[in-house]
Symmetry: none
Subunit: 542 residues, 2 copies
Amino acid sequence: MSDLHVYDTTLRDGAQQEGLNLSVADKLAIASHLDDLGVGFIEGGWPGANPKDTEFFARAATDLRLKNATLAAFGATRRVGGKAATDPLVRALVDSGAPVVTLVAKSHIGHVERALRTTREENLAMIRDTVSFLRGEGRRVFLDAEHFFDGYAVDRAYALEALRAAFESGAEVAALCDTNGGMLPGQVWDVVTDVVAALALGSGPGGGASGDARLGIHCHNDTGCAVANSMAAVGAGATHVQGTINGYGERTGNANLVTVIANLQLKEGREVMDPHLLQESTRISHAISEITNVPAYSRQPYTGASAFAHKAGLHASAIKVDPDLYQHLDPKHVGNDMRMLISDMAGRASIELKSRELGFDLDPEDEEDSALVQKVLARVKELELRGYTFDAADASFELLLRREIAGALPTFFDIESWRVITDSRPDGDALSEATVKLSAGGKRVLRTGEGNGPVNALDQALRLALATAYPEIEHLELIDFRVRILDAAHGTDAVTRVLIETSDGETTWETIGVAPNILEASWMALVESVTYGLLRAGVPAR
Amino acid sequence: MSDLHVYDTTLRDGAQQEGLNLSVADKLAIASHLDDLGVGFIEGGWPGANPKDTEFFARAATDLRLKNATLAAFGATRRVGGKAATDPLVRALVDSGAPVVTLVAKSHIGHVERALRTTREENLAMIRDTVSFLRGEGRRVFLDAEHFFDGYAVDRAYALEALRAAFESGAEVAALCDTNGGMLPGQVWDVVTDVVAALALGSGPGGGASGDARLGIHCHNDTGCAVANSMAAVGAGATHVQGTINGYGERTGNANLVTVIANLQLKEGREVMDPHLLQESTRISHAISEITNVPAYSRQPYTGASAFAHKAGLHASAIKVDPDLYQHLDPKHVGNDMRMLISDMAGRASIELKSRELGFDLDPEDEEDSALVQKVLARVKELELRGYTFDAADASFELLLRREIAGALPTFFDIESWRVITDSRPDGDALSEATVKLSAGGKRVLRTGEGNGPVNALDQALRLALATAYPEIEHLELIDFRVRILDAAHGTDAVTRVLIETSDGETTWETIGVAPNILEASWMALVESVTYGLLRAGVPAR
């Protein structure tokens, strides 16, 4: 494995993206995914400056079991004229408990004088004092040299002085930040090459940096070159790369970390991370999109839904014969798939695979099995055209498969109808009331449930109606509910996709519903969720 | 003005994007926008291979008045074993009437043998024959050397041979295509440098290429480096750049032409096009998004809605002092604007800035104004704690601000109550029915609306109830509706955030609602959306 630091700042710099607003629970869930991906460092936020981030670090200490990554707390150098030891924001960094502290510091003389409004000497003292103090508290210290490239252009000597101050005080990394994102790869290459030489880095055994001192790179995509700039810096000797998942970030975003890693590993042959982890990147990129609720960008390199999709045309037959002629690498390396937008070759294979995964041993040579796969495939394609996505709803896929296999899905209950009424209340939150009519256990049942939302009310009514015939459902708990409007061009007339996650205390499963009416979509997903729960528990139809 | 060819292939390669489907009218409208942008060449499609493209060229001849651009028809070299003069597809290129014909040709020996299934000699003969024939017909001929970089890696001599065959037969340009998109900038630089030397280009007076012969570059974004690769090729001597508007294209898309031009012109000081035209690029990029119906990518460099948007409260105070410290260039160069976003990172400075943007001139020295800013800030922070996010809801922020300023927000109507009923229907989609009671124009109104979803029904009922007092709302259209469940750990008990985007045909605005009940959150956002619409239209309260 290479010596390169893979440093993720999704939870801090990524969260600066317009429209992206993460709760503490969101941040914990994302951190866990990033750890699964195998990044080396997860920057969790700015404790002290932001109460949400303070809480994140407190909860991370108890709730987050990291397998690969080390947590980093982000913060600034101490106040002008103060002391690091008594600065409350510096104290908050120590109190966060994070083993790494990443300090943002000024290295651009214009920012020192005009934004910070202090002298060049005081800024250097702030760096030295804060780094030394944190080292004394037993923390590893990384420095984010803000606006480094612009500062280097204005006053190279001072920009280098800021880095020296950090290294001499015990900082392990100085990440050169293209904060405004205006650089091009050639410039980045030139500057990093010069900095490596000027600071006499690059002579150590690690290759890029001597001993503990290493240069890092932090890029934004304002010239469309965040990835290329990061690669240029690594090429010139940087051994610490910062970025975010899905390239989230302020303005045009940060460098997309997965793209940078995949380029380094799959194109330049550098072993940055375990190849098995890289194969999780498409799944993890999409899972994090679900948490941020920022629609996944289908044209995203490597992990995008369209990244290996081909409009079948002139070359369709050639692709079948020799796919490598038409793709820049095998999408399996990043856990993605080639898709032929007309041909269904990939579809059959994945249905066979998935069925086997679920315990249905389908023989591709067997005529009956083959016909079944064909039927399931046709059904999946029809449903996906209508907005279904079975990647995110394994349980619904299993139910679909069982419906096509005689005897594989018992009929637990028959629904007659449902209705939900939601009323505004003059002084308080609106109230919802749902009525469900169904037959179960040989009886017709009619029940009404209340909730603080229409789906909650439907969930209550469904449980009440099934409770007598199936007391087992008491253990089921609805733990997540996600809504996406498809084909936004039509506003509220559009189709709604609802994903529901249910738990039985041991495991969780996801079900899906798609309909023009959001409540109908929710109802479909709820019914699937309960059906799957009964099936899983091995309950017979009553 | 520089000698560089700016060659747009939005209408041909861009149209290969998944989900993008352009009518002839769409293509004509896009071509007209591209001409306004000032591109040198517009590749209109493949006449003969595609009836829609044949029609495009026929209609372009009469309907399209190009001020800047030259039309190019795309097509392939003649058939294996045939003659260009009698090949119906080559004939269709001539018949298109386009002054330029861009021929796609094989330069990768593997593709010659395995995809084209012919010999190396026959492929070269196909190039020579087709180029010569088209030159004889009075056309300028450009060659797209498909899979050039991959082919160069496999058999450099043959790849160069294909280019020589084209140039010797009268082709003016040979564009090196990274068809599979797997290249990195260093590789592109090396290959283009070698090709320029090997073909003895670069010695002419134009700088990059001798006489009429020039190298071009055609990149895809599969490594996230389409822009950087294009820049590398130009740096190494290419004088013809291909790309698409908004980076449309198969898989991860083509090089974003506006990003490449802006980088060359604004970063490298190369005069690629009239600076006044470049200032149209944001407007044109968005106008073309409207035609393609692919939602504009807000993080797009230079022209994206977020490209110059700032969220951090930390930076806001310094931005006020000196905006150039925090942007890589003045967004006016590309017709974009700096925007301050209000978020929970916001401080006083960002509220003051935002208020000024909205036309409220608050004086930070004035005691009353200062108290107002403090009050607004406290309100924003309180609401953001409850799940609001104003960076995605400018209109709701303006309403919040106006509520705090005496007389700045008229009371257009008073709501009494609302109710929504949703019923399952035995054979069809569920139906929703909403009843709204309110007072407007001095009268109490009660109206019921129907919809295929509860929000749609509420929207209908609200419009019906307001129609008499405010006929102006007829122009308002709800164009997007987004739902986010906050704190997912509680499932359907969680708080719901709804964002609504509304259009009046000229501009759009976003409003927000947050509540435990999804319908209440939707109702709040709907009411804000209509209120803002009335305010914008300058309608007095009735």
